[in-house]
């Protein structure tokens, strides 16, 4: 299933609800464009809800890292919300779990930006 991205604002935080796969050719570019669009508009607080993302490949992992770096370079924050077990395991395996701020609960994630 291709990636779909829905955007919403919660207390000054842009939450991107992602659904589907983040893989080469099936979501990596969409995610990159969405992040760049937010950054170019000056959005500083970005929360990626991965609760409906059941598959990320190495390209998708790289895209998450690039998104994080892009945000950080623009003094913005990018955090992750609701990892599925598969995505959680992948982030642990690749040690990326130590890079991102990760939350299970949206309210806590939103509050962390303040």
């Amino acid at each position: 299933m291709a990636l779909t991205i829905a955007s919403r604002e919660v207390d000054g935080v842009t939450v991107l609800d992602l659904s589907g796969r983040i893989t080469l050719g099936e979501g990596s570019v969409q995610l990159r464009d969405a992040i760049r669009d937010l950054i170019s508009k000056g959005q500083k607080n970005i929360l990626l809800n991965l609760g409906d993302v059941n598959y990320i490949d190495s390209s998708g992992l790289g895209e998450l890292v690039s998104a994080y770096t892009t945000a950080k370079n623009q003094s913005a924050g990018l955090k992750l919300l609701k990892l599925t077990k598969k995505v959680h395991d992948l982030l642990q395996l690749t040690k990326l779990y130590t890079v991102f701020d990760i939350f299970d609960d949206e309210a806590s994630a939103i509050a962390s930006f303040k």
Partner: protein, 146 residues
Amino acid sequence: MSGPKTGRRRFALSSTMESVGEVEAAADKLAEEAGLDEDDRFHVTMAVREAAVNAVLHGNEYDPAKQIIVGLENTGEALVFTIADQGKGLAPETLPDPLAPENLMRGTGRGIFLIRSFMDEVHFRQLQPGTELTLIKHLAPAGDKI
């Protein structure tokens, strides 16, 4: 109880992302038919997909004149996948460690690591031209399966 479905398939595909999808689907079907549990099936399918992406993207560089050659086999003792490209060749020993602190924030370089993490054996063979990866997942003896 019937034994595992064994058999060998070998086919050539164009250097496109559609081919990657075909290889992924074929690997998933073989893993399912072999009775792998959900986690192992996910890992095997992902490893094969990563190998196919490497072949299409880094090996053949989407060159329409080049193909990837794919082999899938259930020997009864293992699932064996071969994915070959016709590119410049790959020296796996030169690949940086994606877990090293200096590489952790790189946007690329995790594919071979994932393949090695998810499969029991990974072998590289240099072709003239190209590279062939052999990915092996051992199957539990039938008596060990619940």
